[in-house]
Symmetry: C2
Subunit: 183 residues, 2 copies
C-alpha cells in the first residue's frame, strides 16, 4: 500500500490521489486501507517514517565532512522520483492543510534528530562550543537546498551541498549557532 | 484588479481563483481583465512586481546590520495577509506548474537583485572579498527563513532573522561565498 501510494503520488497531485486507486494498485480492498490507515494522511504519515530512516550517517571525525553527507543526501533524495513526489506533494499540501503541515514538520524533525548526532560528536571532540544548537546546524545545512528546490527554483548539485555544509560548520565553530541565540 | 486578485488569494486557493470573481470584485468586465492580462498568471506576474519593489534598504555601513534589514523584511512581509497569501499560493502552485515556478523564481530574483546592492557596498568597503557572490549572500540570509515557513513550519521572529543575517555576513567575510565556489 505504501509503494502504491508513492506510485500514485508520482503520477497525480496529492489532491487527486484516491484511496480506491491506491487499494486497486496494491491489490487489496479499499476497506482494508481505510481500516488500517484511516485516510490518505495516515498512509503518508507511515510513508514519511519509511522515507526518513534511510540516511547513512558517517563519522569522518570532521564536522564539515559529516555535514556534507547530510547535504548530499538531500540532493540525492531529490533524484529519486518517489521521494521527490512525496516531498513535492507534502510542501504544496502543507500550505493549505494544517495536518499536512504537521506531517511534514514531524518527518523533517525526525530526520533532523538522527542527523543532529553529527553535531553532538563535534561537541564531544571540542570542535564546536558545548552549547551549540545541533538542530540549528542541521537547519542551516539544508536551508539553502530547500530554498533552491521550492522558492528560487535553481539547480542543485554537489557543489551547492558542499558549500552549505562548509557554511554551517564554519558558523557552528564560530559560536554563531548556540542554543542561547546569535548574540 | 491587482488588489482584487490579492483579496481573492487571501480567501481561496490559487486553483479556485477565477478571473470572473476578480473582475466582479474590481468592478470591471471579465473581458477587460482577459484583454490586459490574458490569464491569472499574467495578473500574478504584475502583482509580483508590485510586491517586490517595496523593500526599504538601508546603508548602515555594516554588512550584518544591512542584511538584518533584508531578513527582517522577509519576516515582516509574512505578517501582511495579502503578501503571505500571494507567496503561499505561488509556492504551492510552483510545485505543479512550470509557469508558476518561473513567476516565483523571477519575483524572488528581482528582489535579490535589489538587495544584492548591500553586498556590493560591503565589497567596496573592503569588508568582504572582491569576488563575493552577492546573490549567494542574499540566498543564505533568507534560506533559513523560507525553510521555517515552508518546510519545517517553525516560528519566525526577529531573532531568527538576525541570526540568519549574522551567519551570512560571517560566511561572506570568511570568503565562503565567493563566485568561484566554496573551495
Amino acid at each position: 500500500v505504501l509503494e502504491a501510494t508513492l506510485a500514485e503520488l508520482v503520477e497525480a497531485d496529492f489532491a487527486d490521489v484516491r484511496i480506491e486507486q491506491i487499494a486497486a494498485r496494491a491489490g487489496v480492498a479499499p476497506s482494508t486501507v481505510y481500516r488500517r490507515w484511516g485516510d490518505l494522511q495516515g498512509i503518508i504519515n507511515d510513508l514519511s517514517s519509511e522515507l526518513t530512516v534511510s540516511i547513512d550517517l558517517q563519522d569522518t571525525g570532521d564536522l564539515e565532512l559529516d555535514l556534507r553527507v547530510v547535504a548530499r543526501a538531500v540532493v540525492a533524495l531529490r533524484q529519486i522520483p518517489a521521494h521527490r513526489a512525496w516531498l513535492d506533494a507534502m510542501v504544496a499540501e502543507a500550505v493549505r492543510s494544517p495536518q499536512a503541515r504537521q506531517t511534514l514538520a514531524t518527518a523533517i524533525e525526525r530526520r533532523r534528530e538522527i542527523t543532529a548526532e553529527i553535531v553532538h560528536r563535534a561537541v564531544a571532540r571540542g570542535e564546536v562550543p558545548a552549547d551549540t544548537d545541533a538542530h540549528e546546524v542541521i537547519r542551516l545545512t539544508v536551508a539553502p537546498l530547500y530554498l533552491r528546490m521550492y522558492i528560487t527554483n535553481e539547480p542543485l548539485d554537489g557543489k551547492v551541498a558542499d558549500r552549505a555544509a562548509a557554511v554551517a560548520a564554519d558558523a557552528a565553530r564560530h559560536g554563531l549557532l548556540r542554543l542561547s541565540g546569535a548574540e
